[in-house]
Symmetry: D2
Subunit: 146 residues, 4 copies
């Protein structure tokens, strides 16, 4: 049995539990760089399977990186939380081989509803900004600590 009392340790334990079964994010080559309460950083390199008909990274994969970052950010309080929707603006194209880094942060959490912002960058350049709306399901992520 695990007893987690620190909010940073709790965030990490939640992220580890989610990551272990997240074939989707792992399958796209994402790496979980860091996690803390209400925040997460993920990175991903643009692969050839992500390139679309205009020769640039399909926006869907940039959105997927942002959506994963959102999911890891909002699931740091040991409450299973899902996306009810999101909004993304694409500012720059990403290309094959680009290393993308997405930083997520909690803007506001009110009852079961939350708003999270994610910024996707290549180096210092902002590629996309994303705003996610979350809804918690009320049950714990970590059985042992509930």
């Amino acid at each position: 049995m695990v007893t987690v009392t620190d909010s940073r340790e709790l965030a990490r334990a939640c992220a580890d539990a989610m990551w272990s079964t997240d074939q989707a994010s792992k399958g796209l080559g994402m790496a979980l760089e860091s996690v803390e309460p209400g925040r997460a950083v993920l990175s991903m390199t643009v692969r050839d399977v992500m390139v679309n008909g205009h020769g640039i990274c399909h926006g869907g994969f940039i959105a997927t990186l942002a959506d994963s970052t959102f999911a890891f950010s909002c699931n740091t309080h040991n409450v299973v939380t899902v996306a009810s929707g999101f909004e993304i603006d694409f500012l720059e194209s990403a290309h094959l081989g680009d290393e993308l880094r997405a930083e997520g942060r909690e803007v506001v959490l009110r009852g079961r509803s939350g708003i999270y912002d994610v910024t996707v960058r290549r180096g210092e350049t902002v590629i996309a900004v994303f705003r996610g709306r979350s809804r918690s399901l009320g049950r714990p992520i970590l059985e042992e600590t509930s």
Copy 2:
């Protein structure tokens, strides 16, 4: 040299040109069901690599299906057109093996800016609604017809 005078034939020719190089959509197993001016229908089956940490299809892949459908819908007028952003609302979870069908349609096209709606369904059930904002780059998709 191809001469395309009919708007439906033109839409189809644009879609064929895009599809031939769209590794991203093809790599996810999408099928281009139909295309006509301002409209496209794509389908995709949820694969095991698309399942996330909660045991349901990662929202990013649903968004990617919708984003591809948006791209095929807005690139039917033989003008290279890119997404400036989109908004998606998730209404139901999708699961492994679900067959998803996305229908896109032009809401409004004004100068270089357009709005496109995509509805993603499993059978009759609406899984997600998506609204994309497009921006045309002004150059033709099909060199021969410009």
Copy 3:
């Protein structure tokens, strides 16, 4: 005591109950053109108090017209329903004296959550498109019919 069995009559009764206390919509000179289950049409003329610093109608008033239309559309099922948020795209400017007409319709209603689209037009010209997200509070609008 009122007994309302028809869904169209119910929608009308809900709208009448809301309208009677809606100082905001009335104060801006809006007119409730029609209402039916999941749908409403409102109109508003752009007044001099709505003009902004660029000499055009402040987008906020166009959004307010759309938001009222959304509210009347989603409160047609005799369940108090509020906006959790909305998204609006401005396609054309509106000017002093323009008569604006906003048509709202239910896109999807799933449990307590709904999506409603509103199109704002001046004549045949689309001025703005709006998508609202609603959340019902579960209690009736009309006490007598609950």
Copy 4:
């Protein structure tokens, strides 16, 4: 003739020029608290004409406050800039007499397109979060300094 070389002075001069003709914002009782490059703070008290059918402030007026704050934030670089659209999430109701304060900030500005976030608060409580998309028209706000 005015010569403005400092970016803060320029922001202020732009705001003053806009404010002088902005009947809409003034008519709703808004006050321009502060302005600096890419940022503005506006406040507004909820009046009886802003109350809707549920006895709470019509979301449209909260959106209008946020939209004005967005407009003053994005018009600080002496380039006429308009809203192409926005997204707002309502987190708490506002009531008659509430003093609302909206803070806007530039998230990113790339060529003619920008993203601005506005947070509306009553005291420390976040009432709404807003994200605006701007498009510059390329011409100066202040004739003298162009």
